[in-house]
Symmetry: C2
Subunit: 379 residues, 2 copies
């Protein structure tokens, strides 16, 4: 199988990740629960992973790196934990349902008001429009770093500057960029960064987290055991336990920690360059094929994603042919990105998404281009 569905999850992983998970399954106790060897090994490994992730994203404090089960939990925690009745939020049409549905629910249940910067037919937003949405009661701006549908990146530094000029927080969803694009919390002035472990960070599923700037107080989504301050009726207020009730996924975090080592060894820039080269090779290969529509804008920052359609063929049908006849894995349909499909005019057709990683090769890209050509020619 040629795996071009890396935006959904990393199927290919460094062997070091698997070794770390195996080793963890054999040796780790429950982190922060006891002082014996197994528990201490777990505590040390997890603290070490926080230190690595803090360095990776340039988060000023390792104890402000919080682990979650994935970025959906991260985003739910952050949005529910920061927004109260009367608050106003700005987001964009590029967002995934992991941002949209928490916001819609907060609108309905908590009277939070939300505005979205509109995407045009190329999937781009106007930053002037975004700034015009700012109000005195705007509590935060939350957006994705790159669309999971078109791959188009948003200008995080620019949005951050707009948010801060209006005294709002800036929350970044890095699901499609962490691991392949340098993301520096200080340089981009990110208040809260949400990440997932199982995509570009090459870790196991069930891992993810939140990097929090010092001084930002997020109310927990879950409360429960922490191994400390047992007699407090409320969740302890200090990070990371503030947002980490219950046993952490130590086995998964061990894998993620090894993955971060692997990425740092190669270098995010090198991974990003290779992914970008593969992406552009694919884009250049398919854009000229008759009947092909490629979505998005390839003139600016871009994640390793190309979404396209062949004429008016159903995207699911095309993806199935790619899988069944060419053994090429892609993703069709709506990709949990309803507002962007509406902006692109692809609500009914969906789109076929090809997404690339460090582990793909030029030969795989060329095979995928040839497959698209063949399918386009056969209709």
């Amino acid at each position: 199988m040629i795996y071009l569905d890396n935006a959904a999850t990393s199927l290919c992983r460094p062997k070091e990740v698997k070794e770390a998970v195996l080793n963890a399954l054999d040796t780790l106790g429950n982190s922060a629960r006891g002082t014996h060897e197994g528990a201490m090994d777990a505590s040390r490994m997890i603290y070490d992973a926080r230190v690595k992730l803090a360095a990776f994203f340039n988060c000023s404090r390792a104890d402000h790196v919080v682990f979650t089960s994935g970025i959906t939990e991260s985003l739910n925690t952050v949005l529910n934990g920061l927004l109260s009745r009367g608050d106003h939020v700005i987001s964009t049409d590029l967002e995934h349902n992991s941002v949209l549905r928490p916001l819609y629910r907060l609108e309905e249940k908590r009277g939070v008001r939300v505005d979205f910067a509109a995407a045009d037919k190329r999937g781009s937003i106007d930053y002037g429009d975004l700034e015009r949405l700012m109000r005195p009661e705007t509590k935060l701006v939350v957006c994705t770093h790159a669309s999971n549908l078109t791959g188009n990146m948003l200008d995080a530094a620019r949005i951050s500057a707009i948010a801060h000029a209006h005294h709002a927080l800036f929350i970044l969803d890095t699901a499609q960029t962490a691991g392949s694009h340098p993301i520096d919390m200080q340089k981009l002035s990110i208040d809260v960064l949400c990440f997932t472990g199982h995509k570009g960070l090459m870790g196991p599923q069930g891992t993810g987290g939140i990097c929090i700037r010092e001084g930002i107080e997020i109310e927990p989504l879950k409360v429960g055991g922490t191994g400390v301050q047992t007699y407090s009726r409320t969740q302890p207020p200090q990070y990371p336990v503030r947002l980490e009730a219950g046993t952490l996924n130590g086995h998964g975090i061990a894998g993620l920690s090894a993955a971060i080592d692997y990425i740092q060894e190669i270098g995010v820039d090198r991974i990003g360059k290779k992914t970008a080269d593969l992406t552009m090779r694919f884009y250049e290969g398919v854009r000229a094929i008759p009947d092909i529509t490629v979505y998005g804008d390839f003139s600016g920052g871009h994640a390793g994603i190309v979404a396209l359609n062949i004429g008016d063929r159903d995207s699911g049908e095309v993806s199935d042919i790619l899988s069944d006849e060419f053994r090429i894995a892609t993703r069709a349909g709506a990709h949990c990105a309803p507002r962007l499909h509406e902006a692109l005019g692809t609500k009914d057709q969906g789109a076929v998404r090809f997404s690339f990683s460090w582990f793909n090769t030029e030969e795989e890209i060329d095979a995928a281009v040839d497959a698209v050509k063949t399918i386009a020619g056969s209709f």
Copy 2:
């Protein structure tokens, strides 16, 4: 290391679990996200795991088995998702902070009223007392199946009958019994069963779930992408996606699924019998040692747990000596069970908890008894 901290997490696991996780890391895509081989393999594996868990707990519908990151998330989801302003809840002094803190928070934030059936000095509750707490507005009774501190089991069938006689739901926390005690949702008339994957079920950390009786509607804690019904602004209403926003921990669930196979192959009864024999062997060995206080009641149902103190020695000091000098892993302190420590009169001292599993041996038990004797004699 002699690992007697199984109530915290299973350090020893069947090799089949590790093989399943490794295989999953090599082959699985993202469940319910696409139709290619990797995604379909993930979807099938996860559905298969639901079927196995439904059979394991006798949950009437496999699609009403919901996966979470662990039982803390399960309990937070269930309690926050069922309780509204004006509701009354009954629980017990035996509960873990994963039940207590969500309830305390609901009292404070949502005006839910909570009563606790009191534990006596042996850690037992009076079922008549519990029934007398019932009110017309009692929405549910939530309790642990066994204390994570003393190991004493609650009579789930009896509490279930009391709850249902008063038209309340019955929610069971099986953190300390699943895998070593038969738990049948139909026979015990359990409305919602919460489980964790990484203790008696022998699976990886980061796994757990909820088994829900048909007709019970729990509001989601997290909302987000589901891979279906992308254009709905709200989380789809059908289980399991209703409560499963975001990418599931497929790698962990693969391990849990293999663990369930392993347990079913041996048989819960056989695992329970061996664990109970080891527990009683330890209890009989330590109870007669001068200066030892063993907590709880050993005349009825019991999980594989024995908690004790040596004179008035700090439990942390004793646990450290066991670890450092005897390489025996136990857990000292408060065990996230504040109300029960208050009932036992051990709030300051804590207790040293020994907890046993299928993988322990009689030799290990005897070594632990000898170690306790030696430490008790040395003070």
